[in-house]
């Protein structure tokens, strides 16, 4: 834990660029990035927040390329000016007012001139929370036209969008930070993992999803995904949920199924983000689990079956639960238990917890202390965190600075 933590901390400083640096070379302008993903997005509208974790993570990654926020969190999780250059507290009207950056061009060529209402936020909560919220991709600046279309200020503009299938983004020449390196980005959505792997092998794609727990290439990878069980229906009592949690043999799963990757944890936030994840332990006690599970009803289990590693973990969890006397079988429709991969998509603990709570459909109230907030979320064993893993992509050989899309560039082989 110690070594991993320090390595994680150290590597965090690379978070912003997240570059896989090869022979140092200047970034090359030009080229088309070909991205493939399993998630299928219906649109890139920041106002629509998906409920599926995989779709949410993909959308959160793509939105900043097209739509920008007033404020952005830096690598330390500190809010920095972005589309807003500064903010001031209007004590009279009890509002926080953001100053818009001048000379920002929208994709349609017009200068961004926001209405005053778009730059004001009520001061009913602490400013740190307001700023973290403003930095979320869902609060990106979107200019909506009368005909229903919308434009943004980001380094790329949407040229083509086929719902759930494919999209093409083109460089926004007049971006206020300068034209992005890439000419365009072509995205294929809803693609099978096997097809993605094949396309990557054949050189038909530059970035693809990779199965769970696959390391992306650098040895010092930051865990930015929490694998957890969430109980969606009240069929399982808190005692049964605790029994399931106590029956899971995390060490073996990590050693054998994840091949030693990832960290075992009973916490939602990884150690590098919270610093206290060791306080939530995921210990195993089969005898106690059997006691708690007396009379447990059979439960249906759902997981993303496409991912072979996820499936093997889910099967192993079923076997573990069977040892405690709880039957978990794959089911269709609304399942009692879900195995989900929750993205750690922000540098701020409270934002991450809020996002996770939304994905888990668990009520969450803002608390200034992350520890208390996390304790509240984990109370009653409604959520059972298992591992912290690295969100993996498989990257083509010429790629640099992924996943920071505005600064990604492709070298020539």
């Amino acid at each position: 834990m110690k070594l991993t933590a320090s390595a994680s901390i150290a590597a965090v400083s690379v978070l912003a660029a997240l570059a896989v640096l090869k022979a140092e070379s200047r970034p090359r302008y030009g080229g088309t990035l070909r991205v493939e993903m399993s998630a299928a997005l219906s649109n890139l509208d920041p106002a629509e927040v998906p409920t599926d974790p995989a779709v949410l993570e993909a959308k959160a990654r793509l939105i900043p390329a097209v739509f920008e926020t007033l404020v952005q969190l830096d690598q330390n999780g500190m809010p920095q000016p972005w589309l807003a250059t500064s903010w001031a507290h209007d004590m009279v009207r009890k509002r926080w007012v953001f100053s818009a950056r001048p000379n920002v061009r929208l994709h349609n060529g017009a200068i961004w001139t926001p209405a005053a209402a778009a730059l004001e936020v009520a001061d009913d909560r602490p400013v740190e929370q307001i700023l973290r919220e403003m930095a979320q991709p869902w609060n990106a600046v979107v200019v909506r036209e009368a005909d229903g279309s919308f434009t943004g200020t980001g380094p790329f503009r949407i040229v083509k969008w086929e719902t759930g299938k494919s999209a093409t983004l083109a460089a926004h020449e007049d971006h206020w930070k300068g034209r992005p390196y890439l000419d365009s980005v072509e995205i294929q959505m809803g693609r099978d993992l096997r097809d993605q792997a094949q396309d990557l092998q054949l050189g038909k794609a530059d970035v693809t999803d990779a199965p769970l727990g696959t390391s992306p290439g650098t040895t010092e990878a930051i865990p930015d995904e929490t694998l957890a069980l969430v109980f969606d229906t009240p069929r399982a009592s808190p005692a049964v949920r605790e029994a399931v949690s106590l029956s899971i043999d995390r060490a073996i799963i990590r050693r054998v199924l994840l091949k030693g990757r990832g960290d075992i944890s009973g916490a939602l936030l990884p150690q590098w983000l919270s610093g206290y994840s060791f306080l939530f332990d995921g210990k195993r006690d089969v005898a106690r689990a059997r006691q708690l599970a007396a009379g447990a009803p059979p439960l249906t289990f759902a997981y993303d079956r496409q991912d072979a590693v996820l499936r093997s973990i889910a099967e192993r969890i079923s076997v573990n639960s069977m040892e405690a006397g709880i039957t978990m079988r794959p089911g269709n429709g609304t399942a009692d238990v879900r195995l989900v991969a929750l993205p750690v998509a922000s540098r701020d603990e409270l934002s991450v917890l809020a996002d996770m709570a939304a994905l888990l459909k668990v009520p969450y109230s803002f608390s200034s202390a992350p520890y208390e907030a996390e304790r509240a979320l984990l109370d009653g064993f409604r959520v059972v965190p298992l591992f912290h893993l690295t969100r993996a992509w498989s990257l083509g050989p010429r790629l640099h600075n992924w996943p920071d899309l505005p600064n990604v560039w492709i070298g020539q082989p």
Partner: protein
Amino acid sequence: MTFRTKLLLLSSITVAGAVALVTGAVSVAARRAFERTDGQRRSDLLAQLLRELDARGLEVVRKVEHAASSPGVERIAVGSAEYDQARQEAAAHELEFLDVVQPDLTILSSAHWPARFGYPNNWEIAPEDWLSTGPEPGGAFLARVPAPDGMSVMALVAVRPTADRRAIVAGGRPVNPTFLKSLGDAPGMRALLWLPPTEGSSMGQVVDAQGGNPDIAKLSGLVKEARRTVAQATGTVQWTSARSSAEAFLAFPLQNHHQVGAPVAGVLLAGTSLAAQLALENEILWIGVAVAVSGILIGILLGWWTTERVTRPVTRLATGARAVAGGDWSARVEVLSNDEIGELAIAFNRMTEQLAEQRDRALQAERVAAWRELARRLAHELKNPLFPLQITIENLRKSRKLSAEEFEEVFQESTGTLLAELGNLKTIIGRFSDFAKMPRPHFESVDLNEMVQNVMKLYDAQLKAEGRSKIDPELELSEGELRIQADGEQLRRAIGNLVLNAIDAMPRGGVLRVASSRQDDHVRLSVSDTGQGLTEEECERLFTPYYTTKHHGTGLGLAIVQSVVSDHGGKISVVSSPGSGATFVIELPVVPGVST
């Protein structure tokens, strides 16, 4: 029932009976043959299944041995392989199930349930089979293998240690319909495998090589028998209410170890459908029926023809006899053949001739007798008036000597007497004459009831005559008219005669009853008196002409009645006994000529 009908019936019964017997015999023979053949086929199939099962067992053992010595499994045993390596090894060695376990039975890798690594193996394998210390070490055996979906599958399993004894390999193939089908297949036959119940079911499970879903309950009896005796058992199972769904089975219990007391791991059943046999029996039956029916028909036709040849002469004989009985003494029967029938005809004819001669002779004698009687009667009758005649004439002669006046007186008296007696004589002769020349009846439609009433009116006065005891007339006539074809005059006279006779028979009074009724095609008229009655002998002689019981009378009255009745085609009879009166009954046909 006519002779013909009897004959036809008999021939039909004979034919039907014979055919039924033959059909039954053929049916039984066919069934026996079927059973023999099917039984042999079942035995053969069972033997083949068992042979193949053994062969598959050896094959599984071989595959498990290969797997146990393969480098992939070695890697699993030392722990340097992926947790699901067993899956690839199983595919490579063509085994559906492959578990590599440590000596303490902890799973190192499982092919069909990879997630169970690290857990103890849960196949239903006895400890001695793991360690190959059982009575038949190293052989393949049946064992239940739990599956991830919660069900368990019966499999043919073998166990082998790896070369370095670091691990044990258990592998096998599921016993499913495909497997069973591969053991042996014969057209028209079925192989089933009954497996003991698992936790979920209470009845066990049946694997059908054809992939069907047989009703376990129907097999339970046979299976129970095989398990109980641990030996071959036979039985028939009817799957549905249709008889053709029946199947005959030969059941064989499978034990993992051939030792006393070893549990039965399953029961192998080889079955043949009885549908063909039943169909054949049915066919035989229908053919039998068809043959019987056609036999009967032919029998009928043949019988018809035969009886024609037999009964026609007989009928002719009967017709002839009837004709003779009806009075046609000249009726003869044709002699058409030389056989018994012909002889019968000849005899009949001879008999008829003789009868005719005898009748003629009798008739002759009777006629002679009747003549003699009539002559006697005539003589008698005539004698009476003649005597006074003689006397009178003698008187007259004598009286000639008398004075004219005295002569005149005597003359007048004598002539008067003479005339009276001549009149008497005339009457008598008239009566005889009437009797002699009874005219032929002239038929017309008359109302008998009306006629009776008229006759009664006519004699009403006599009934109530003074100086005579009263006679009460009673009329019990049928309702309405009673029309017959008759000669009214003659009939009236006949009725009158009867009434007179009845009156005469009741000198001290009584009841005179006249009744009429209609019966089918004839009418019945009865005249009853309450006189002194008649004896039996008198009844017999009553209708003889000149027979009379009366002190006076010619005795022709009843003879006339009888003649009239006879001319009308009817008959007359008398019922009487001394002291209880007499009843004369006339039966007349409605239409003369048609009489019963």
